[in-house]
């Protein structure tokens, strides 16, 4: 059982890290603000979510697990808002000449 | 493992609670002024400052009677875990000086910083009185704290109180001066803090008395001494780190300039004394003392020469501060020299501190005098001072007395200070400092003379004053200047207050 949980952690965190990596590459390589945002929000939220899911079986108490999930939700909320604000500014400024 | 020296743990002494009251009173004043607001700020200040004067007098009396350092263990915790407040002779003298000067400044500024009728709260008066209390609180913390980190916080307080005093008047140049002052102050305190960090890393305590017994000549201690000294010099405006001072001090309102020039720079200077004489006397080499005094000598010469070339009275007085700060640093090689000769270093230490007190009183009087001249004439151009002697006789007399105190004519405090320093220089064979002091004195007398002569010229034409200054404001300035002029009589006192609680001469010094 514990080996199964270990395997789950390795897989989930590994996948999360992959999404982080992909998001970072996207941030650096994509041509304009909107596509970069796309890379960031999609990949980061998924990445963080997978990391949290992977760590969940390893926490000591249900409270600690709840805290982890709260962290994920708060980050989702904050990054959604921030990207929306950035996107609005980018749209108002128009596409780069 | 934690090799603290085998000394008896300190305990709270009789009168120790006075230190707590002296430390907290100004802060309570700041809080009260902020909460009550408006014209209450001035009332709070006028109430708290005399009370503080009484407290500091009580501390001096207690120290003289018991002939030992007053100590208070905060929270009942002894160092190294806890923090103590200590008041030795040096602290007691500085506390008293601060209270006296603040009282004079408060009386002088009473009319200037009045909330206009019909307003509940006006920025300038409200902030002036609050900041005056704030400055006082930070100085008291500097003089009383026995812990290097508490002193760091106190230094920051000093900067936060001083910077806004500089730009009380909304002008671009005062804001610029304030910004530069702040940057220097921040750089100074961060370097000081870095030194304290290294000392804790090496010795595991921040308490001054414990460190004194632990510090050994090794890299951490040398680095700490260098960093802390440079940081404090930037805050004290010792040449060549002095450039922020003249515009900052000259641009402030007269009462604020008086506080800044007389007291604010003395806070960091006081810490240099603490550091060099109390925390790490064993590792300060004679060459370091000579170097510090060389900067002091350069400050004396450059400051005085530049002062001579100023066209505005307030700038002249501000540059004179640069020079007078230089004198303060002559005490270090002399004290080290005396210690090296197995002689008590009292003359140098007392001389240095007396110079600080003498300059504080004289300079506060001179800045306030310049403020009255500005108010009367509507300008402070030195070339156009004619007629001031007739309009403001007491102020001019005060200026002359303060000037003679700076020059060092007997019986001024400056005379006694320079006498002690000169004799220490001759005893230790360091004649070059004698030359510096004599040349500096000549230059100082030149610009004091020029100002007084210009002001004594009478004009027949109808030179109507912009504003008639009430006599009592002149009287305050004259009283402070006279105090400075008569300070030399301190030599007649039965005890040398400064020496109370100082380590025995032979324990310190070189091996």
């Amino acid at each position: 059982m514990s080996q199964l949980l270990d395997l789950w952690t390795v897989l989930a965190v590994g996948a999360g890290v992959f999404f982080f990596f992909a998001g970072t590459v996207g941030l650096l390589r994509f041509p304009d603000t909107l596509t970069r945002l796309h890379a960031l929000t999609k990949a980061d939220n998924l990445g963080l979510g997978l990391v949290v899911l992977g760590l969940l079986p390893r926490v000591g108490s249900p409270l600690a697990g709840l805290k982890l999930i709260c962290v994920w939700l708060l980050v989702l909320l904050a990054s959604a808002t921030a990207s929306q604000l950035i996107a609005r500014v980018a749209r108002r400024a128009g596409p780069p000449a | 493992m934690n090799a603290l020296p085998a000394m008896l743990p300190e305990t709270t002494t009789a009168g120790g609670f006075l230190l707590v009251l002296t430390l907290i009173l100004p802060f309570v004043g700041v809080l009260a002024a902020l909460t009550l607001g408006g014209r209450h700020a001035r009332r709070v200040a006028m109430l708290a400052i005399p009370l503080g004067l009484v407290l500091s007098l009580a501390i001096v009396v207690e120290a003289v009677q018991t002939e030992r350092t007053l100590v208070y263990l905060l929270g009942g915790w002894a160092p190294p875990l806890g923090i103590v407040l200590r008041a030795d002779g040096l602290s007691a003298v500085m506390l008293l000086t601060t209270a006296v000067i603040l009282l004079a400044v408060a009386l002088f500024a009473h009319a200037d910083f009045d909330t206009p009728p019909g307003t509940r709260e006006a920025r300038r008066p409200f902030m002036f009185w609050t900041l005056l209390l704030a400055m006082w609180g930070s100085l008291n913390a500097v003089f009383l704290a026995g812990d290097l980190f508490t002193l760091y916080v106190a230094l920051e307080l000093l900067g936060f109180a001083g910077v806004p005093l500089v730009c009380l008047d909304e002008r671009a140049e005062t804001l610029q001066a304030a910004l530069r002052y702040l940057l220097f102050a921040l750089l100074g305190s961060v370097l000081y803090m870095l030194g304290a960090v290294l000392l804790y890393g090496a010795y595991g305590t921040l308490d001054i008395a414990l460190l004194a017994g632990l510090v050994r000549p090794e890299p951490a201690a040398f680095a700490a001494a260098a960093l802390m000294t440079v940081g404090l010099l930037a805050k004290t405006a010792l040449f060549p780190l002095h450039l922020w001072l003249p515009p900052a001090h000259a641009g402030a309102p007269a009462a604020a300039s008086a506080v800044l020039s007389a007291l604010a720079v003395k806070g960091s200077f006081f810490l240099v004394i603490r550091l060099w004489l109390d925390v790490m006397p064993g590792i300060i080499t004679p060459a370091a003392g000579q170097l510090l005094a060389a900067f002091g000598a350069a400050a004396i010469l450059v400051g005085n020469v530049v002062a001579l070339r100023q066209k505005r009275l307030k700038m002249l007085i501000a540059y004179s501060t640069v020079a007078q700060i230089g004198y303060l640093f002559l005490m270090f090689p002399l004290a080290a020299g005396l210690s090296a000769m197995q002689l008590p270093n009292d003359p140098a230490v007392t001389g240095g501190l007396l110079q600080a007190v003498s300059h504080a009183t004289a300079k506060a009087a001179m800045f306030m005098g310049a403020g009255l001249i500005y108010a009367t004439l509507g300008h402070d151009r030195i070339a156009d001072l004619a007629g001031v002697g007739r309009q403001l006789p007491m102020t001019l007399l005060a200026f002359a007395l303060g000037g003679s105190a700076l020059v060092g004519l007997p019986p001024a405090g400056g005379f006694l200070a320079k006498w002690l320093l000169l004799s220490a220089a001759l005893t230790t064979g360091q004649w070059w400092w004698v030359v510096v002091m004599v040349v500096g004195g000549l230059l100082t007398s030149a610009y004091v003379f020029i100002v007084v002569m210009r002001a004594l010229v009478t004009v027949d034409a109808g030179n109507t004053p912009k504003m008639v200054v009430p006599r009592h404001r002149e009287a305050v300035v004259l009283a402070l200047a006279s105090l400075s002029f008569l300070l030399g009589l301190a030599a007649l006192l039965p005890v040398d207050i400064v020496q109370i609680g100082r380590p025995q001469p032979f324990a310190a010094g070189l091996p």
Binding site: L77 | L34, G75, A202
Partner: protein, 315 residues
Amino acid sequence: MNLALLFDGMLVVLILAVAVWTVTVRDSFAAGIGYAVYGLLLALAWVRLAAVDAALTEAAIGGGLTSVLMIRATVRLRAGEAAARAATPGPLPRLLAALLGGSVAAGLALVVLALPDPAPTLAPQVAEHIATTGLGNAVTAVLLSFRAIDTLLEAVVLIYALIAVWTLTPDRFWGGRPGPKYETDPNGMLAYLARLLPPIGIVVAVYVLWVGADLPGGKFQAGTLLAAMWLLAIMAGLTEAPPISRRWLRGVLVAGTVVFLAIGFAGVPLAGAFLAYPEGFAKPLIVAIEAASMLSIAFTLALLVLGPPERRDQA
């Protein structure tokens, strides 16, 4: 162990790289962003140094509030940016500055390498006396019992800084409201966030304050959180910064220090010294001080970020 060292090595390289970028990048706005990243990385370093309290403070204040302050300022200074860049010193001053910085860094590195082993520490003394405070968090015990005067003076520092900032108010705006009036879409995303987040933030802040007695946390971290929530509501246009002349505001600003002083002086007759706590009552008194200070700290920090009043108080 080696894996840990590898991780730490990468972290150090990253921190230094971001720091270099922050100093050298041409655009000040970018430097502000860089500093935010730097603050967060530094918070990681604090975790690696087993100083979680410091990590929380660094993340909240260094990474959070300082960056907000900086980024807001760079936006306002945009206009003068090009002119300022032209004043960049030439190669020789830069070389001298590099020599200065380099030699200080080298000297410090030598001192770090020469620090005594075993290191002197006060941890045993703290462990010996912490029982008298009833606290589980040694850092809180140091801040509020052994070295309470530092914490008291620090509260005064915050008040001094706010007084200093307010001194910069233009005379015509004295008593007015700090910061610009934020107009945002009341149905927009930011307003939505500003309605949703503060209740959560307040709960978290109270939690951080409460556990601070025994676990990492305390009034600074909690106060910063509250300040952030308030700033969010202000910047989303949901509420306005209060006029600085308000009595209640002044009262809240000094409340923490007043409570601290009152309990400190009560210690003189009850516990034998200023800032001492009567036996058995240390923990509740400390929590009381922390709770009052949290509010004062929150308001002071937020007002420090907002700066001096910039407009009259229209009722």
